[in-house]
């Protein structure tokens, strides 16, 4: 992290915003709770969709399921990006140095690239496998990778509290 000034995280942790998050009885537990709700929306929606692409319940239209779930993925992602940033700020120097958080952010980046590949390319042929037909190998591999990454993201996220 050579481009980041050495004292950036310390200064962030010393900011009035960080101090008020730490000093409030309610803010921290509220952020943690909202973060879990956002997690349920993101991972629940994504895994449900991926399982369909992998071949479960092929009578369900992939396009309709996608239309139903994608807004909830983005809702959950917005909740977790914002609550995650605030939780990070509250103790920025500690969190920035936390290996589990670093791994988690890299995994989220990987999951994002995988999702972009799926939405940008692999889903283009969906007309031919929207219902009943088996999804192409590329789409299924992407779905399996997606489930793997999101489960690993949950594990890495939970691990943040268990290591220094």
């Amino acid at each position: 992290m050579g481009l980041i000034p050495d004292d950036l995280w310390e200064n962030l942790a010393a900011s009035p915003l960080a101090a008020s998050i730490r000093a409030s009885i309610w803010i921290y537990p509220f952020l943690e709770t909202a973060h879990v709700i956002g997690l349920a929306l993101v991972v629940g929606s994504i895994v449900s969709f991926d399982l369909r692409v992998l071949g479960l319940n092929r009578d369900l239209s992939v396009r309709r399921l996608s239309r139903h779930l994608l807004p909830w993925v983005w809702t959950g992602f917005f909740i977790n990006a914002s609550t995650g940033v605030l939780l990070f700020v509250s103790d920025a120097a500690e969190f920035a140095a936390n290996r589990a958080l670093q791994v988690k952010l890299l995994l989220i980046l990987a999951a994002g690239l995988n999702a972009a590949l799926f939405q940008g390319r692999l889903i283009r042929s969906v007309e031919t496998w929207d219902t009943r037909e088996r999804a192409p190998a590329g789409a299924r591999a992407s779905a399996a990778l997606s489930i793997t990454l999101w489960l690993a993201i949950v594990v890495a996220g939970r691990t943040i509290a268990y290591i220094e």
């Binding site: 000093a23 537990p29 690993a152 890495a156 290591i163």
Partner: protein, 122 residues
């Protein structure tokens, strides 16, 4: 999916192991031992998610970790009680790395209450 399954399971198993084996207390503090220190409170960080304070005992300054603000409130450990200069006896689980740190089990405040903050270093 079959090709991805073994590395996936290995990854999850690897990443889950420390999480299953430890909670933050039991990772950092040795649950099989307790220490008991009497001294003077020298600095208090009354914050979420965990409250920290120091206890000066002779030449050693112990860093003591305890619960969240809401837990402290529920147990009656207030900022008025846990303040600079307060004389306390703290019992807790010592840091595994041998440093002068502990996870708080019980705090007895001179001229005040004795509060059990946590039963186990789970």
């Amino acid at each position: 999916m079959p090709r991805l399954a073994p590395p996936t399971l290995a990854l999850i198993a690897l990443m889950t192991l420390p999480a299953l084996a430890h909670h933050t207390y039991v990772t950092k503090y040795d649950a099989s031992r307790t220490v008991r220190i009497s001294g003077v409170v020298t600095s208090v960080s009354f914050v979420n998610p965990h409250i920290f304070f120091s206890v000066q005992a002779g030449n050693t300054t112990w860093l003591v970790e305890t619960e969240s603000l809401s837990m402290a409130s529920a147990k009656g450990l207030t900022q008025a009680l846990l303040k600079d200069g307060a004389k306390v006896t703290v019992t807790g689980w010592p840091a595994r790395d041998g440093s002068a740190q502990m996870g708080l089990n019980v705090i007895a405040i001179d001229g005040g209450p004795t509060i059990k903050m946590r039963g186990t270093a789970r």
